[in-house]
Subunit: 328 residues, 2 copies
């Protein structure tokens, strides 16, 4: 077993090497170049790392997990590629998005091809795990599409509930992390019970992570957060914070909040200050922190129930802390 | 075995029933409604029919082929759905395309989901065939993407060769027909040699069919063809006919042809007459007919080599004739 936090780094190195070794055809150029461009653009490689972690918890060798780990990374990058068309995003990982660098048609088609390449990477799995792994992957992939559809739906809705929001981020983000870890565990030989516990662990930590992302966009420190704070407020993004504030505010405060959302003339910096004032009155910061803690605790409880040696459980605790940016 | 030409009809009925039985979720509505809309829009159901045919040649039961047959139909419809975005087509099977009825984002995402649903329909295959079937499907699916990319590339190129064109239609159309038949044969228990012969048979008949489509667009009878003749000429579509004419024409004739292609002011009916005059001079009609016959004969030769009883071989001959609209 790799030592403490170094294991993540090791997994990321393996996946980078394997991505470089991946042999994609050269032609048609406009189909495969955008794929190579996307896959070489970096990223945290969290999903393949989780596949490796899940496998290594139950097996000495991660050999069988390498191609599935690549599949998860390629599938994740495919969803980003298509999401970027849908959201008309221009920049991803500090470089032009595929639909901006080439065009939408090329982005659609190269994304479609990435999905097929991901599927193919499961087909060399041993006979006893190929079916459950592919079934779990398909279920997860479809849920990610559902999450993306809900996310788009919510942009045009004013009545999104907190429960609906949590379900959306679960589908859009958490299930792929959970599916990755569980796929690795199945390949490693975990029992159904263990694999399910790991799924829940990763799903909970994924929800905590996504809520923390919402939290930091408003209450974070720009230097630590790495991007400008307040963007969600400027764009009226329906985050856990805003949905909670809309639910809890009453009378004049609610009217003020809604008029801030509808105000096209207010300066961005003033909008951030005014919305944050309302958030502070409603204790949105504390409520969000509590919700994050709730999911974080749940994920740690899932670890408790696992039948693993304590040094392996520690890896899962370390991963959770690392994902949340927490030092031990 | 079903009798003579009735077998195709029977297969189409089975697939229609199975498509109706297919249980798709209701929500998110805007993800699954476009899929149901697409799958209920009809079509010839050729690919699932080929899966059934391939299976029935080697097996009494087509039970195991039902879900894979659905997968091929759903995958085919997914490619049409995404192609319609890329080509900005407004109508498909006499109804609005998904990206026109809803929007491009919904069309992208529901297409992505269809691809996943297709993949899932292979996962209940028996252990001894699941891997080769999925591998063949993935290879085929990626080739279809390559064909679509070449097709888009060719729109902006003036130097497309006949060989490149034939390779493009092979990838875009024929391999999916060939893959469908071979998948059915593998499920039915065919040997590798038999499955490969069937693949070649369907690939050749697919090429003959696609070339006939080019042929009929220019030389067909509107009543029989079912759509207006001459559309390829009006839109300068790089078909086998035009590419061959550009290759064979010389001097003034070549200049005339190119100036007809570039002439924005000519009336459509006159353009059709003038281009057809050049085609007639160059014997494009006969050259295309010969090429169609060449592929048709090749496909029949593949049947000869099969180790099947003659009544089963007759089904393949009947299918070839039926696809080409030929009465026996």
């Amino acid at each position: 077993m790799p030592n403490k936090m170094n294991f993540l780094k090791k997994y990321q190195e393996i996946i980078s090497e394997e991505l470089e070794k991946l042999e994609l055809p050269d032609t048609p150029k406009e189909l495969y170049e955008p794929i190579k461009y996307t896959l070489s653009s970096g990223g945290k490689r969290l999903r393949p790392a989780l596949v490796f972690l899940g496998c290594q918890l139950y097996s000495e060798s991660i050999e069988d997990a390498i191609k599935p780990a690549l599949a998860l990374e390629i599938f994740h990058n495919f969803t980003l590629l298509h999401d970027d068309i849908m959201d008309n995003s221009e920049i991803r990982r500090k470089q032009a998005t595929v639909h901006k660098k080439w065009n939408s048609n090329i982005a659609i088609l190269s994304g479609d091809a990435m999905q097929i390449i991901a599927f193919e990477l499961f087909t060399d799995l041993p006979k006893d795990v190929i079916r459950p792994v592919i079934k779990l992957f398909n279920k997860t992939a479809l849920e990610v599409c559902e999450g993306q559809q809900y996310d788009m739906d919510f942009e045009n809705r004013k009545d999104v509930t907190i429960e609906e929001y949590l379900e959306m981020i679960r589908l859009k983000t958490s299930v792929l992390l959970a599916g990755s870890l569980k796929i690795g565990a199945i390949i490693g030989g975990a029992s159904k019970k263990e694999a399910d516990l790991l799924y829940n662990y990763a799903q909970n930590i994924g929800l905590a992570f996504q809520l923390q992302d919402d939290f930091l966009d408003t209450f974070g420190n720009t230097e630590i957060f790495g991007k400008k704070v307040g963007n969600d407020i400027i764009t009226n993004k329906k985050t856990f914070l805003l949905i909670t504030a809309l639910k809890l505010s009453k009378n004049t405060e609610k009217e003020n909040l809604i008029s801030l959302l509808n105000n096209q003339n207010i300066k961005n910096e003033n909008k951030i200050i005014e919305v944050k004032k309302i958030y502070n009155n409603l204790k949105i910061k504390e409520l969000t922190e509590n919700k994050i803690k709730e999911y974080f605790s749940k994920s740690l409880k899932n670890i408790d129930s696992l039948e693993l040696e304590s040094n392996k459980k520690q890896l899962l605790i370390d991963f959770a802390n690392s994902l949340m940016g927490r030092k031990k």
